[in-house]
């Protein structure tokens, strides 16, 4: 039996009547009282995820964050500590889930230690924010928006730079586009009939580092919720803490959000879906010559872990109160797709293919040249290559259970800009194709950042739209009409650029 149970933050209305939240606030307060160079401090832990302390040219530099909280930028820990611990977060990688699981465990240890020191429960565990839950649970638990604790002292869970999807301080998650659709995936990395590329847990990353796609769970709900909660200030001048990966972990709601992501992973596993078993994943990036996953336990004791160490809840000392995720969106099944394509489905044909079938993909068309997106959005004609388009169409015409028709994706390449607090709504021939959040764009656009300034790569699956166009005999066109509309206005000095819009087919070559 696990010692610790992570419970729903919305228990008792998500207020301070919920002891988990009250003790969390007190524990956070203790950690915030420690100095930046203390590995047990709130600020040090936030920097483990990512930091912008030396960024002195304005926001999102930590020195430019509006209080509260008052975020320190000194005293810095020794450079050796910074190199070991800071800026570790794993995004756009199949290590996203295991790294964050260890990060949560370490933070939980720190908060619990502080709570015990205050005379609180020794079994305290992080609550989760199930924004896909029933009723008002799509809203942030009220305890996070109160400026005072019940005893009248300042509430450490309150953050000024948390603006919400409408920039008005009303913090909620927009459903849709936020959904649990990734829970219908049945492969961790790769693609198959039930799983679009790059899979539930993210793309395999090897020795060569490059900015890839977010895994399906990372993309939705994770990235969406970051952008929704953080938002941008009413004057559009700055983004909220949660909108930027290098500021996000300063906001106490961050850990409840990630607790829910971790819970969704655990539920996905409990539903019979497997994590990777290759040594490349189990050993983590350290097995590829990269940095180890390492966290400071209470007392600044280093804890080195690998994905193998956090692979299963059975080996860890906590469980979740609820092992279900409310279904908020349903992906079209393969059977349904085949019926729409007019293919009779024989009885008894197994439809579950759980291995990765993504072996190759091919460019179908592209919009040549960069585009700038301002508040009014942008429209582009994405030219299709006749030869490849015909090949794609032929897989739809000859579709059968054996001849699986192509899957098709629209990709935005080299998406650069300074403001992460935006989402882009994408339409193909007037049909809504999807919505992509820009979480991480600023970092990915920095010349000396991890992506070398290449920007983000974003993707939406447009197989449904291609099928519809095919059935309407509208796919013989030389181009697709693509519109990209931002979900909120973009300040003049914060334009977003897209290097290329491209269409890829995935399937038989």
């Amino acid at each position: 039996m696990a010692n610790y149970t992570r419970s729903n933050a919305w228990n008792k209305g998500g207020t301070f009547a919920n002891d988990d939240l009250l003790w969390y606030a007190k524990g956070v307060g203790i950690m915030q009282s420690r100095a930046l160079n203390d590995p047990n401090s709130w600020w040090f832990f936030a920097a483990i995820h990512g930091e912008k302390i030396s960024f002195t040219s304005g926001y999102p530099g930590w020195g430019f964050i509006p209080p509260v909280p008052i975020v320190p930028t000194s005293p810095l820990p020794p450079e050796s500590d910074r190199e070991i611990y800071w800026n570790q977060c794993q995004h756009r990688s199949w290590f996203f889930l295991p790294w964050h699981r260890g990060y949560l465990i370490a933070l939980e240890m720190q908060v619990r230690e502080a709570i015990i020191g205050l005379g609180g429960p020794a079994t305290w565990a992080l609550p989760y924010w199930d924004y896909l839950g029933p009723g008002d649970e799509y809203r942030i638990p009220p305890a996070f928006v109160q400026q005072k604790l019940p005893d009248g002292s300042a509430n450490p869970l309150y953050v000024t730079a948390r603006y919400g999807p409408r920039s008005d301080g009303n913090i909620f998650v927009s459903i849709p586009p936020v959904s649990s659709v990734s829970m219908s995936n049945d492969i961790y990395t790769g693609s198959n009939l039930n799983t679009p590329w790059p899979g539930f847990g993210g793309p395999r990353t090897e020795f060569w580092h490059s900015g890839g796609l977010s895994g399906n769970l990372e993309e939705n709900p994770h990235n969406h919720v970051h952008v929704d909660v953080g938002g941008s200030s009413p004057d559009g001048r700055i983004g909220g803490l949660m909108s930027n990966p290098d500021l996000a972990a300063l906001d106490p709601i961050f850990y409840l959000h990630h607790c829910n992501i971790d819970r969704m992973w655990a539920v996905w596993n409990a539903d019979g879906n497997a994590n990777p078993t290759s040594s490349s994943w189990l050993a983590g990036p350290a097995g590829m010559g990269e940095r180890k996953f390492i966290m400071p336990k209470p007392g600044a004791v280093p804890w080195v872990y690998t994905p193998a160490d956090v692979n299963s809840l059975d080996t860890l000392d906590y469980i979740y109160e609820s092992a279900t995720v409310q279904v908020t969106a349903i992906r079209r099944t393969f059977s349904k797709r085949m019926k729409q394509l007019g293919v009779a489905m024989p009885e008894g044909v197994p439809m579950a293919i759980v291995e990765d079938i993504h072996n190759t993909s091919e460019l179908v068309g592209a919009h040549d040249g960069a585009l700038r997106i301002d508040s009014s959005g942008v429209r582009a004609s994405v030219k299709l290559d006749n030869q490849v388009r015909n090949k794609m169409v032929s897989t739809l015409v000859t579709a059968s259970v054996i001849n699986v028709p192509d899957r098709v994706y629209l990709q935005l390449e080299n998406v650069r800009g300074t403001r992460d607090a935006n989402k882009l709504n994408i339409y193909v021939n007037g049909i809504a194709a999807g919505c992509v959040p820009l979480f991480g764009m600023h970092q990915a656009s920095l010349k000396d950042g991890e992506h070398g300034g290449s920007g983000l790569m974003l993707q939406v699956e447009i197989t449904d739209i291609i099928d519809t166009l095919h059935m309407e005999n509208a796919l013989d066109s030389d181009s697709l009409d693509v519109r990209i509309i931002p979900d909120r206005s973009i300040p003049k000095d914060s334009e977003i650029s897209v290097g290329r819009i491209s269409i890829y087919r995935e399937g038989r070559m």
Partner: protein, 245 residues
């Protein structure tokens, strides 16, 4: 689409193979101008006239730089229409090699001029070595390494696609020159042990190409990542526990 591991491995095998062949050519001189090239390499390292040494410089570039091109080659491959891939790769390579050949001509001319006034001496090699260490630790070097990670958009159709592949190769080559020119020059300063030095430099440059971009600042850089990969892969292969809990 991206992150296709199988494709990346195929590209890696290909460039390692090409590099290996170029190394064989350098070491044995077994090609159509065998004795000529072998002599040229010796001449090159002995600082002779550029006109005689450019073919050898070309083989050196292929041998030493090809392993660093896995990531940009994958970028070109994936961003191009299937039927244009070979052409795009060729244009990228042409752009890349062109700027290196131009750099080689300049380096070799400077060396030739230098050799007229200064005789080969261990002192020159020592000075070169010290300069190489300073450059290796400099923020400028890190900036150049970082810029090599930028993979910009490539247009897909017609002459624009050709132009972009060529331009990408040239840009990538320029930043490679910025980060590697001192290392590439260093073996030529030695009076002996050229090939061993070239091997070490190749190892170092390949390792650097695997590193993530980092903030430009003074720091000691070395083949840390490649050593770590070899060590960790060795542990995995020999069945030892990879990390501790």
């Amino acid at each position: 689409m991206t992150e296709n591991v199988r494709l990346r491995r195929q590209i890696a095998l290909t460039v390692f193979g090409i590099s290996f062949l170029a190394w064989i050519l350098m070491l044995t001189g077994h090609h159509s101008h065998a004795h000529e090239t072998a002599d040229s390499i010796r001449t090159l390292v002995a600082m002779s006239l550029a006109s005689e040494t450019l073919p050898a410089w070309f083989i050196m570039i292929v041998a030493m730089m090809a392993p660093t091109l896995i990531s940009p080659l994958q970028h070109v491959w994936e961003r191009s229409f299937r039927r244009r891939r070979a052409r795009a790769i060729g244009l990228f390579a042409l752009g890349y090699v062109s700027v290196w050949m131009l750099a080689g001509a300049i380096i070799l001319l400077v060396k030739s001029a230098w050799s007229v006034f200064l005789s080969d001496s261990p002192l020159i090699a020592l000075m070169g070595f010290l300069f190489a260490i300073i450059w290796q630790c400099s923020p400028v070097k890190q900036s150049c390494l970082n810029r090599n990670h930028e993979h910009s958009g490539l247009r897909a159709f017609g002459w624009a696609a050709d132009a972009d592949a060529l331009r990408f190769g040239m840009n990538h080559g320029l930043w490679c020159i910025g980060s590697c020119w001192v290392l590439m020059t260093l073996p030529m300063l030695l009076t002996q042990g050229h090939f061993a030095a070239m091997g070490l430099v190749t190892f170092l440059m390949f390792s650097e190409s695997l590193d993530r971009p980092n903030l430009p600042r003074w720091r000691l850089r070395g083949p840390r990542k490649l050593f770590a990969i070899v060590k960790e892969q060795g542990r995995t292969i020999f069945g030892q526990r990879v990390t501790s809990f």
